[in-house]
């Protein structure tokens, strides 16, 4: 999945603003962003549900919208809340969708329902389904096309913890089969657990993208210091070369000091902070390096954009 300079406007509002995105094949890719960031709009543009105002894009190597039919032949997608004909059963809804795909799609209805755990309710009317069951039916609707690329917009919505666990496992198994899964979500914890790589979108623009491990490696560290005199410790650190370095920020918290250190900070810096404090007569009883999480990194990246440039 690839986009270049993709733009979508709604009047004066630019929902997708020059998006450059590259999703490699065969991975689970998280597409993250705060509410209103333009996640769903980008997906809608990619799938041909609405038209782009500018830019180019391709799915599975097929330029879209020119070869939209070929591209979507191997794409399954849930966009927004999955809704179906309530007066039909789950199976009947899938039959309608299978009829619009290739002939073999009808044969995949049973296995797809089995895979998402809906076989026992397949002949119930969808109007009697819970939100989570409709979500599963949406995934089954994706699977009947035997897709190479799945685009799932907030697939965890409405799922209970067990359902979320099932969904994680299913996504992992889909990726293991060589499929590409793009997961749009604001549930950072889920994305971190499920995806190999992410893109962060904010105000219609992709601001970061890449493997989670590499992105987090480039983010700042947080050092929590438990000590006897936090205000004096703060002043001491601020007076050193470490405290004046770019990217370092020291705050006093009820539990002690919070020292935010730039990306790539080595252990020797932490040892130096400890030495300075102890040498000044401050008792240090705890030093804890907090591993940067996707959530903290996401907040850093997106909040930075909110500041005046």
């Amino acid at each position: 999945m690839e986009t270049h300079g993709l733009v979508k406007r709604f009047g004066d509002n630019v929902a997708v603003n020059g998006v450059e995105l590259l999703v490699p094949r065969g991975c689970a890719f998280g597409y993250l962003g705060p509410n209103g960031a333009g996640k769903t709009t980008l997906i809608r543009v990619l799938l041909g549900l609405t038209r782009a105002d500018a830019g180019t894009m391709s799915l599975l190597g097929h330029p879209v919208p020119r070869h939209r039919d070929q591209a979507l032949a191997r794409v399954g997608a849930i966009v927004d809340e999955p809704r179906f004909h309530g007066h039909l059963t789950g199976t009947q809804n899938l039959q309608i969708l299978a009829a619009a795909r290739e002939r073999a799609a009808a044969e995949r209805i049973g296995p797809s329902l089995e895979r998402v755990g809906l076989s026992h309710r397949a002949d119930d009317k969808v109007s009697k389904y819970s939100m989570g069951m409709r979500q599963r039916l949406g995934v089954a609707a994706c699977l009947i096309g035997d897709p190479d690329l799945l685009i799932l917009d907030e697939p965890m919505n409405g799922l209970d913890p067990a359902g979320m666990q099932d969904m994680r496992q299913m996504i992992a198994s889909l990726v293991a089969e060589g499929r590409t899964v793009v997961l749009s979500s604001h549930l950072l914890d889920e994305v971190e657990r499920t995806c190999d790589a992410v893109a962060i979108v904010d105000r219609g623009r992709v601001v970061r993208q890449g493997p989670i491990s590499e992105l987090l490696a480039g983010s700042s560290l947080t050092l929590q210091v438990g000590c006897s005199d936090a205000p004096r410790a703060r002043a001491l650190i601020a007076g050193t070369a470490i405290g004046t370095a770019d990217g370092t920020h020291v705050t006093v918290e009820p539990t002690g000091l919070n020292v935010i250190l730039p990306a790539g900070t080595g252990h020797e810096v932490i040892a130096e902070i400890n030495r300075v404090l102890v040498a000044s007569g401050i008792a240090v009883y705890r030093l804890q390096v907090l591993q940067a999480s996707l959530e903290s990194w996401f907040l850093q990246v997106t909040s930075r954009l909110g500041e005046p440039q």
């Binding site: 094949r25 549900l49 039919d69 591209a71 039909l88 009829a99 795909r101 190999d196």
Partner: protein, 393 residues
């Protein structure tokens, strides 16, 4: 923006399965599943069945029952008159409305119920998605109309009266001109007193008629203009009376010939095709309107207003400078194509050939009527398909 390389997992190598999802032609499976989707709508289907089959069946059933209980008080359930009333009064008007309702439902349901998005994501041509609804919906509405119409035909033929009531006189049906004259001569008093014929004041027959007693006096009131002093003249002979009755029958024959005990086969075939055409128009227009508006309620109301209010008004009113615009109303066009003998659009037509050249309707040639119908079918299909192809899903 930072972009880092992502390791690529072992790919699933597979060629794309050949299909024709870019084609604008819907597949058979698309049509059958769309048929299923519409057929499973309980509320819509119950309404369709009630209107197209239920109303005529109940009406005819009650008449059959009443006639069986009290044949002298209640006339036969079937017959030509009942047939025309049901076909042009019920199946024509309500058939269009329920067909339009089904069309609007087919055109808007995917949108309102969120299914449209799933369908678009399949990559199937949006035009094919639209076109699949037409045969599916027509299969439903046309078969229902056919069933309802068949019931009407069956009852109207098999429960038709055995004698024709013509001007209040029981007359054998299907007589030739000579046969009617002969019958009239044998029932001269009934014919002279009841048949509605005028003769000029100088006519010798008028003199005869004015001297035949009918109820309280001579044949009257006032259809004849007998010469002054004629009344009170000598009583006409039997031969004169018989001749007068035969002359009346001769003059009345064209009107008599339009009265039947039961609808003819040709009339039933033409009426059936005409009703199916009306239902097809209703469905296709409703489908286009439903697709255009994207919702059902307003579209159904518009269709009802068109059929029940606008069409009768525009078909009969003479609005200066707007006659051609009035002729563009599809209901007027279909009324002009009505088979002979069917009074349409609120009555007033009647009689064989009453559809074309119906004096109550705004004049319109058959060619124009056909063009209007084709334009409506094509126009609304294009509008509906265009909206579906350009709509954000």
């Amino acid at each position: 923006m930072a972009t880092a390389a992502v390791p690529v997992a072992p790919g699933r190598q597979r060629g794309a399965a050949p299909d024709h999802r870019g084609s604008w032609l819907p597949s058979g499976a698309m049509v059958t599943t769309r048929f299923m989707e519409l057929r499973k709508r309980r509320g819509v289907m119950v309404t369709l069945v009630l209107v197209t089959i239920g109303i005529p069946t109940v009406f005819l059933g009650v008449r059959l029952l009443l006639h069986a209980v009290s044949p002298k008080t209640y006339g036969p359930a079937g017959g030509y008159e009942i047939y025309t009333a049901l076909v042009s009064g019920v199946l024509y008007i309500f058939g269009f409305i329920v067909a339009a309702t089904l069309g609007v439902t087919a055109g808007s349901a995917d949108l309102t119920e969120g299914m449209f998005r799933h369908l678009v994501v399949t990559g199937r041509s949006r035009l094919a998605l639209y076109l699949a609804r037409i045969p599916a919906g027509l299969a439903i509405i046309m078969s229902l109309v056919a069933v309802g119409f068949t019931i009407v035909c069956a009852v109207c033929v098999f429960a038709a009266p055995t004698r024709l009531q013509y001007n209040g006189v029981a007359v054998p049906a299907g007589l030739s001109r000579t046969g009617l004259e002969s019958w009239a001569a044998d029932h001269a008093d009934d014919v002279i007193c009841n048949f509605n014929v005028k003769f000029g004041p100088g006519s010798p027959i008028a003199a005869v008629l004015n001297n035949v007693p009918c109820g309280d006096g001579p044949r009257g009131p006032g259809p004849l203009s007998a010469p002054p002093g004629a009344q009170g003249a000598a009583q006409p002979s039997d031969a004169q009376v018989r001749n007068a009755a035969a002359a009346i029958a001769n003059m009345d024959y064209p009107d008599y010939a339009r009265h039947f005990l039961a609808p003819s086969v040709s009339l039933m075939v033409e009426s059936g095709l005409w009703l199916e055409l009306e239902a097809a128009i209703g469905f296709v227009v409703g489908l286009g309107l439903g697709s255009l508006t994207g919702q059902r309620t307003v579209a159904v109301i518009l269709m009802i207003v068109l059929e029940v209010i606008l069409t009768p008004i525009l078909s009969r009113a003479r609005i200066p400078h707007f006659a051609n615009l009035q002729r563009a109303v599809v209901g007027l066009a279909t009324a002009h194509l009505a088979p002979g003998g069917l009074p349409v659009l609120g009555g007033g037509g009647g009689g064989p050939g009453g559809g074309v050249g119906n004096p109550g309707l705004l004049p319109e040639s058959t060619t124009v009527a056909v063009c209007v119908i084709v334009a409506w079918l094509v126009g609304w299909s294009v509008i509906g398909a265009w909206r579906m192809m350009t709509r954000d899903a």
